[in-house]
């Protein structure tokens, strides 16, 4: 029983790490630009598929490093051409636009790579279990956790110790003042969008080793990411991180006792947070 529980807590932690990675990217974009990026799951899928294609040229490690960067570049281009025009307008329009983009990306990946699920080969030494007693502790899962942790740490360092990060954080609080102080806000939002999409691409590359690859891979992760943001608190990145891990573990633990409610528990948590504390666990008062 304890082993089953431990297994599901660990599983939940991994899933939660994915939710958090996706939600952090969404949050970055939402906080600075006020855009809900519905196509985030689509960018994640692109990350996975690009890794699949790059795998035969660059191998596992090359694909892991290059693919998220390519996705970020695609994101930066899309921001420049399409999303930039909608800043300052009713959020309705950016939501509709990214909604249409999500459709196009899903159909595009299906057109290029086919609708059937594709396998992804991870190095065999990573796939093996680390101990015979805790069979679920495969090298790849631990490796994923470490990589997600590294990505989150990297994001933390960028936001706190670089000029770009400082400007992103300042812009989140008061974009107008940042602009008046001579920062090129258009470039700032552009790079910030790229950073958010990079995280989605990274989530995509990591996810395919575990979940396999199909055009709708992002669909199952985008809703929990929204919930993670709501639970953690809009406007707070640490909150988003905590929210993602929390709902992941909660749904993992629930699946021990009540397998069919493992999705529902996330929504129950969201409802509870909205009733007790509408700004979310770590959200600021009066931001929205």
């Amino acid at each position: 029983m304890t082993q089953l529980l431990l297994f599901n807590v660990f599983n939940g932690l991994i899933i939660g790490a994915f939710y958090a990675l996706m939600a952090l990217g969404l949050s970055l974009i939402l906080n600075l630009s006020g855009v809900i990026n519905f196509a985030h799951g689509g960018f994640m899928a692109i990350g996975g598929y690009l890794a699949y294609t790059l795998f035969s040229y660059l191998g596992f490690w090359g694909a892991l490093i290059v693919s998220p960067f390519l996705v970020a570049i695609i994101g930066i281009l899309i921001e420049r051409v399409l999303i930039r025009r909608l800043y300052g307008r009713d959020p309705l329009y950016s939501l509709l636009l990214t909604f249409g983009l999500a459709f196009m990306i899903e159909d595009g990946t299906r057109f290029i790579w086919g609708a059937q699920s594709l396998p992804y080969q991870i190095p065999s030494w990573l796939a093996a279990p680390l101990s015979s007693e805790y069979f679920f502790l495969t090298g790849y899962r631990v490796f994923m956790m470490l990589l997600v942790a590294a990505a989150v740490l990297g994001l933390f360092v960028i936001l706190n110790y670089t000029r770009l990060g400082l400007r992103i954080r300042a812009g989140t609080l008061d974009l107008e003042t940042v602009s008046v102080l001579g920062v090129n806000v258009r470039v700032l939002r552009n790079l910030n969008f790229g950073l958010g999409i990079y995280l989605a691409g990274l989530a995509g590359v990591l996810a395919i080793g575990m979940l396999g690859l199909q055009p709708t891979i992002g669909d199952n992760l985008i809703m929990p990411s929204f919930i993670a943001i709501i639970v953690g608190g809009l406007g707070s990145l640490p909150g988003t991180l905590a929210g993602g891990l929390l709902i992941g573990v909660a749904s993992g633990v629930t699946s021990v006792f009540f397998p069919s409610a493992s999705e529902a528990v996330m929504y129950v948590m969201m409802a509870a947070v909205l009733i007790v504390r509408p700004r979310g666990l770590l959200g600021e008062e009066g931001r929205f």
Partner: protein, 316 residues
């Protein structure tokens, strides 16, 4: 003069709607497409009650549409084979769910509100998908059909006669549209407009803003669940796609395409969208790309919608 124009527009729209079975086959189509358009138009107009007239963005209306559909389908299949009873149960279920969820999200605004409606919208999708024994899961609720109306003196065969069913749907649509128009013209409707234009000022005037938004939300969801119940009757079938998030997006794009600031806009948007979707999906397998592109193009080049642009033309 503009007042006369508006009257003329109303008359024209009702005339066209009433004569659909006569002119639509001439245009090479079927009455069923007309029924489809009217059902979706009701859903989009219901959404627009909230979006266009209260200024609150919901991206999760498919949930209440789908609840209306499932309520009607399951009532007729399991409880009692009666079309009005099915509709009644569907609408009650959809409206009740909206009432409860509305209480949780009514304090939120803007993108935050939209995000919560999206997330809550998915709850019912998962329930419909996972609760196999009752909802049939992915396969949906099938093996039932709408029941001819029994009016006491005569019975109307809305099951086998598509024209009779069209007029049944149109009658429901007319009642709902009239009710919405009445509400929008009432002091309550004017208050909603005031909230849309300037929420802070409305609050200063002593208007209980949250309560009004909640009421507008519930009214909007009430009408969208009526549309959902009609949707189930139309197909004699319902599956989880009726309440998935892309359905919500369709309602929003219909309202925007036709013109959010006008009463009839969503009807025109629904007609254009459905005819186009029908055409594209019968010509290419990649219809999703085209629909997606259509969304992008509307947002970039046509954000005011058909009626918004026309009104602008006449004003200048």
């Amino acid at each position: 003069m503009p007042r006369l124009d508006k009257r003329a527009g109303d008359v024209l729209i009702w005339f066209l709607l009433l004569t659909v079975p006569y002119w639509l086959p001439l245009a090479g189509s079927y009455v069923e497409l007309g029924t489809h358009v009217v059902v979706y138009a009701l859903a989009a107009m219901a959404l627009n009650f909230l979006l266009g007239y209260t200024g609150v963005l919901s991206f999760g209306h498919a949930a209440y549409f789908g609840l209306g559909a499932y309520g009607a389908a399951m009532t007729i299949k399991y409880l009692y084979p009666s079309t009005p009873l099915g509709m009644l149960v569907g609408v009650i279920v959809g409206t009740a769910a909206a009432g409860v969820i509305g209480l949780m999200i009514v304090r939120l605004r803007g993108v935050y509100f939209a995000m919560c409606t999206i997330a809550f919208g998915q709850v019912f999708y998962f329930i419909a998908f996972q609760w196999r024994t009752a909802t049939g899961g992915d396969d949906g609720v099938s093996a039932w059909h709408r029941v001819p109306l029994d009016l006491g003196v005569a019975s109307v065969d809305i099951l086998n006669n598509p024209e009779a069913f069209y007029y049944f749907v149109l009658a429901v649509f007319a009642i709902c549209a009239a009710a919405m128009a009445f509400l929008l013209r009432s002091p309550f409707g004017r208050t909603l407009l005031a909230i849309r234009e300037n929420e802070r000022r409305a609050r200063f005037l002593g208007i209980p803003v949250d309560r009004h938004i909640w009421m507008s939300w519930v009214i909007s969801c009430f009408f969208v669940s009526v549309a959902g119940a009609l949707f189930a009757l139309m197909n004699n079938f319902v599956d989880p796609r009726a309440l998935r998030w892309d359905q919500s997006g369709n309602f929003v794009i219909m309202a925007v395409l036709g013109g959010m600031r006008s009463f009839w806009g969503p009807l025109i948007g629904a007609a254009i969208f459905l005819v186009l979707q029908d055409y594209i999906s019968s010509h290419t397998e990649n219809w999703m790309s085209f629909i997606g592109l259509f969304f992008v193009l509307i947002v970039l080049f046509f954000p005011r919608g058909v009626l918004g642009v026309m009104r602008r033309r006449t004003a200048s």
